[in-house]
């Protein structure tokens, strides 16, 4: 199915947020996930289902002034 990840349309083959993060090889400790404009705490990643057309923002804190 196709969802929008960080502003880009991408085809993914899983409906599980945890699996997607795992597939993308992202560091879970620093990852901030916004799913359809709602922040998803790490303990809810496993129960968050992705659906066609969803909008996902994968963010992290970086250096800034």
């Amino acid at each position: 199915m196709r969802i929008k990840i960080n502003g880009r349309d991408q085809d993914i083959d899983t409906g599980s947020l945890t699996e997607l993060i795992d597939q993308m090889d992202l560091p879970p400790s620093s990852l901030v996930v916004e799913h359809n404009l709602r922040l998803v705490p790490q303990d809810q990643w496993a129960t968050t289902r992705l659906e066609e057309g969803d909008v996902l923002e994968l963010l992290n804190f970086v250096g800034g002034g």
Partner: protein, 256 residues
């Protein structure tokens, strides 16, 4: 300990030097810089993850006892700033937010109107709002009324190291604002920070000048000394300027 403290929202700080995490050649320098500078508040930014360059978690470089001040950099509208602030709070657990709304890419001037709109919303939501602004007194008073915890006027454009170019405008804020005035951006040398504190600024925020110094840890210490010197000078009451010389020694004749 000192009883001369900086109050922001419900928190009290003994250091009047805020620092930033941007532009460090190596993020491992940040904890040493924080220790040397005594800074108790440090800014961070929130960005989309870069899958190509796996970077360290910046939060790992910041000790627990230092207050995180996420900024809303990247926001071009009040709406975007509010969205970033809400994510930052949920993800970091801090109520502090530096509002930074910038539409001008060349000078990185803050958009005062959007900044005010974001402040009005976020202060109502319980954020401790520190808006980065062009020094403008009517705006600063509006921000105060909207519930800002401080105002952060720029001394010069971000990253320019040019010092207190807006000094007379900042002086108006210092004289008329009830909330703390924190000079943010453009301070390139400890002497600039000292000058801001001497004129009565409540604090300064320094990032580029420390992060891009040859030795950021020592420069952090230099800024700490300057901020303390400037604050002490302000509290002790500066001398008056005069167009003519005013003798320090008795003017009576000697040996004639």
């Amino acid at each position: 300990m000192t009883d001369d403290t900086l109050q922001l929202g419900n928190k009290t700080f003994t250091s009047r030097l805020l620092t930033g995490t941007g532009k460090f050649a190596d993020n491992a320098l940040i904890s040493g810089m924080l220790e040397a500078s005594g800074s108790q508040i440090i800014t961070v930014a929130l960005r989309r993850i870069d899958q190509q360059s796996k970077t360290d978690n910046i939060l790992d470089s910041i000790p627990q006892n230092v207050t995180l001040l996420p900024n809303t950099s990247g926001a071009r509208t009040a709406e975007q700033a509010v969205r970033i602030a809400r994510i930052a709070r949920a993800a970091s657990g801090t109520n502090f937010i530096k509002i930074e709304v910038i539409t001008d890419a060349r000078y990185l001037m803050p958009d005062n109107q959007e900044t005010l709109a974001a402040t009005e919303i976020l202060a109502k939501e319980g954020f401790i709002v520190l808006p980065y602004i062009l020094p403008d007194l009517p705006l600063a008073k509006r921000l105060e009324s909207a519930g800002a915890a401080a105002v952060m006027p720029l001394g010069a454009p971000i990253g320019t190291n040019r010092g207190l170019e807006t000094k007379p405008l900042i002086a108006m804020l210092i004289e008329n604002c009830r909330v703390p005035v924190i000079v943010d951006a453009g301070l390139g040398l400890p002497s600039h920070a000292a000058a801001a504190m001497e004129m009565g600024a409540d604090a300064v925020l320094v990032n580029t000048a420390i992060a891009t110094a040859g030795d950021p840890v020592t420069m952090g210490k230099a800024f700490e000394l300057a901020v303390r010197a400037g604050r002490k000078a302000y509290l002790s009451g500066g001398g008056q300027c005069s167009d003519q010389a005013v003798a320090s020694s008795p003017l009576t004749g000697f040996l004639n």
